[in-house]
């Protein structure tokens, strides 16, 4: 099955081509949905087969390169279209195709009746194609192909309902924002790639990583490569300072938010950092930068989540916050913990989004949680799955989020220090609080929706994917039970990924000098934080709703700050966007383009016009004049020949 891994890339492409070319002709929605889902489903089965095959092999044989063809060979640069099947790419491939398949099935029900039904599925398949390229690539160029491809699909799918209004502007503006912000990151990524090629003379992963160990390269070069690649990651994975596009990406259909903007694409940056772990391990200062950026992103995004009222917006900020967690893990050298969180987060965050989609669906496109309430009576399955996901993200044992989150918290304490642990634990507490604020306002308490709404449970094509994801959210953590509990076998997930990160780990050389008692103590502490935050949320929003409004009134400044998301968008508008727009319109458009460029073009045309207006007078129509000129020419030619003899 490992040799067939290229099918996991080609099948979604095939699905994209079929639905993209013939989709408008196929009148049967079911057929389109089945084509779109089955290609991803088969890809998942192939990835699963490859996983079990790899699992049966001894550790040193687990990496395999499946080469398709030589893509470009120019001078010393030799890039092949080759896929790398190893422990890390298999984990990501399983998550992407598995969660992707579930979301595709969900979309069959969710997108029912949409006039762009076929377009939706073709874009989704294209996304899976690009994402699989990104994950399975064995070189930076192919990774970049996937990197750009997922950006394109993200743009296309955010702008799927391009003619609708979104907040103050339109859906199309939101998709453009996502694309442009991502371009800034991609520019950094490209610079990083150039520098890698300059330094190591190759773009192939294995060659670059082995040369990173053996070549004598100064630390600052590693630092530059690492920071450039990290700029790329901040764009794709929505970290400070490039996170602003992700909340706006919620303009897209909810399955898109679940697949692209929660479970898979936004984790591409985390994956990339994990893949290039050896480069980051060689630049410890940049690791510190990543840890700080991750911790700050986690914390600030979580605080914004407390006050938002749009159900998807809360989840979007929660995603930014969780991505911050993952980067915190990367920054403190806990690569496998970060990837573990990528996986569990894919389960519970996809579930949260899909459940939110189910709610939005049954409330006729209403997204304001102030107009929900008491929905658990009407939507029992959506309610219970949402509750499971909320418990998982809050880190309640033994759900999956508990294991991955606590592993990150533990490593941030052991490798990073108390500051990172406080940021992480604080974020965990806030996360539990806003998740249960969301849960209570949506499913519990008094019904606040109008008489015109008739909430009802969604059909099983929507609820079954929710149940599958809920099961995964519950059991997903057990593959990574920390050493404290599992004893001598250690953390299975960590052992599985260890060969990928062994060079980086050796270079970083973190020695765990902390006892298991400390680890358990911190674990208990963070669970206590989470439970108390949940209790606090229940106390405020269920028992005494006035507290929330009173607090908002008393701390009006702080509330406004959070409500307006720290005015980051406004600041970017004022500092970057508006100056560019103004310079463009007043100078680039009206002077550079209209005056200079148009002046040169029109001026040269005018010059030729004037010259030819005079020259054409020679064409007076008198045949004898032409004959005279010809004779003079011949005479001149003769003279010239005679003189030159």
């Amino acid at each position: 099955m490992r040799d067939l891994i290229y099918l996991t890339v080609i099948l979604p492409l095939l699905g994209f081509l079929i639905n993209g070319i013939f989709g408008s002709k196929i009148k049967n929605e079911k057929l389109i949905g089945i084509i779109g889902s089955s290609v991803v489903g088969i890809s998942f089965l192939i990835a699963l087969g490859a996983f079990f095959e790899t699992l049966a092999l001894p550790v040193e044989q687990r990496q395999k390169i499946v080469s398709l063809f030589s893509w470009m060979a120019v001078g010393n640069l030799n890039v092949s279209f080759a896929f790398q099947v190893d422990q890390l790419s298999l984990v990501m491939a399983l998550v992407v195709t598995g969660v992707g398949f579930i979301i595709h099935v969900y979309s069959i029900g969710y997108m029912h009746g949409d006039r762009g039904y076929w377009r939706f599925f073709s874009y989704m398949n294209l996304f899976i194609f690009a994402m699989m390229n990104l994950i399975l690539a064995d070189n930076f160029v192919l990774l970049f192909l996937g990197w750009e491809g997922v950006g394109l699909c993200s743009y296309l799918l955010i702008g799927f309902w391009y003619d609708r209004k979104f907040e103050k502007s339109t859906v199309a503006d939101a998709s453009k924002k996502a694309f442009i912000v991502n371009r800034i990151g991609d520019f950094g990524f490209l610079l990083g790639m150039f520098l890698i090629y300059m330094t190591f003379g190759s773009l192939n992963f294995n060659e670059v990583f082995s040369r990173a160990l053996s070549f004598n390269v100064p630390t600052y070069v590693f630092g530059f490569i690492a920071i450039f690649l990290f700029i790329g990651a901040t764009g794709k994975s929505a970290q400070i300072p490039l996170f602003v596009w992700l909340p706006d990406a919620m303009a897209g259909p909810t399955p898109v938010s679940a697949l692209i903007h929660a479970a898979t694409m936004v984790t591409a940056g985390v994956y990339m950092v994990a893949r290039t772990s050896i480069i980051y391990a060689s630049a410890p200062q940049i690791m510190m930068v990543i840890a700080i950026v991750g911790a700050l992103t986690a914390f600030f995004a979580a605080t914004v989540g407390i006050v938002q009222n749009d159900i998807k917006k809360v989840l979007a900020y929660s995603t930014v916050s969780q991505l911050g967690y993952m980067f915190l893990a990367m920054g403190v050298g806990a690569f496998s913990a970060g990837i573990f969180h990528v996986m569990t987060h894919a389960f519970f965050k996809a579930l949260l989004f899909l459940a939110a989609g189910s709610v939005i669906h049954s409330m006729q496109e209403e997204q304001d949680i102030q107009k929900f309430g008491g929905l658990k009576k009407y939507m029992p399955r959506t309610h219970i799955t949402f509750l499971i996901a909320a418990l998982a993200i809050s880190g309640i044992p033994p759900l999956s989020g508990f294991f991955s989150k606590d592993e990150i918290l533990w490593f941030s304490f052991a490798n990073g220090g108390l500051f990172f642990w406080i940021m992480g634990a604080g974020t965990a507490m806030i996360t539990a609080f806003y998740m249960f604020r969301l849960y209570i306002l949506t499913f519990d308490g008094k019904e606040r929706f109008g008489k015109d709404k008739h909430p009802h449970e969604s059909p099983s094509i929507i609820t079954i994917p929710l149940i599958v994801l809920a099961v995964l959210s519950v059991i997903g953590g057990f593959i990574g039970i920390p050493e404290v509990f599992s004893g001598e076998h250690g953390n299975q997930f960590h052992n599985w990924l260890a060969p990928i990160f062994k060079d980086a780990d050796r270079k970083l050389a973190y020695f765990s000098m902390h006892s298991h008692t400390t680890e358990i103590l911190l674990m208990v502490l963070s669970v206590v934080f989470a439970v108390s935050a949940i209790w606090f949320a229940r106390y405020i929003y269920l028992k005494n709703p006035t507290i929330a409004t009173d607090t908002a009134k008393r701390f009006k400044g702080l509330y406004n700050l959070l409500w307006n998301k720290y005015f980051v968008d406004e600041a970017y508008d004022a500092v970057i966007v508006n100056p560019i727009v103004r310079t463009s319109s007043s100078f680039l458009w009206k002077i550079a383009d209209n005056k200079i460029i148009d002046g040169v073009v029109n001026g040269s045309a005018k010059l030729i016009d004037i010259i030819s207006a005079n020259i054409r007078k020679l064409q007076n129509g008198v045949a004898q004049f032409y004959a005279l000129v010809m004779v003079l020419g011949i005479v001149a030619a003769f003279f010239w020949i005679i003189l030159s003899l």
């Binding site: 054409r616 064409q619 129509g621 004898q624």
Partner: protein, 101 residues
């Protein structure tokens, strides 16, 4: 006295010059036409001269081609002149100058 090649060539050059000047200064299209014939014949004379002095018959052979072309050209040219005359009632070249800017 012997008649050397120069005599023939000077005569031919003179005929050619007369033809050129005739083409350039005459207003009547038919006279212009005749001047062109004069130029062609001067070329023929040169060909015959060289053929005779070099002892090569290809030059004389070529003259027949030139005469054939000249006859055909005269037929077509005269037909054009008649057609123009029917349209414009003149064969003055400087009045036939509509092909211009």
């Amino acid at each position: 006295m012997t008649i050397t090649i120069e005599y023939y060539l000077i005569l031919s050059a003179f005929m050619f010059l007369v033809g050129v000047v005739g083409v350039l200064i005459n207003r009547n299209a038919i006279v212009v036409f005749m001047s062109i014939e004069l130029m062609l014949n001067s070329a023929n004379l040169t060909l015959v001269t060289f053929s005779s002095f070099l002892g090569n018959s290809i030059g004389q052979l070529f003259v027949f081609f030139v005469m054939t072309v000249a006859a055909a050209e005269a037929a077509v040219g005269l037909a054009i002149i008649i057609a123009i005359f029917r349209n414009k009632l003149t064969v003055n070249i400087d009045e036939i100058n509509i092909l211009k800017w």
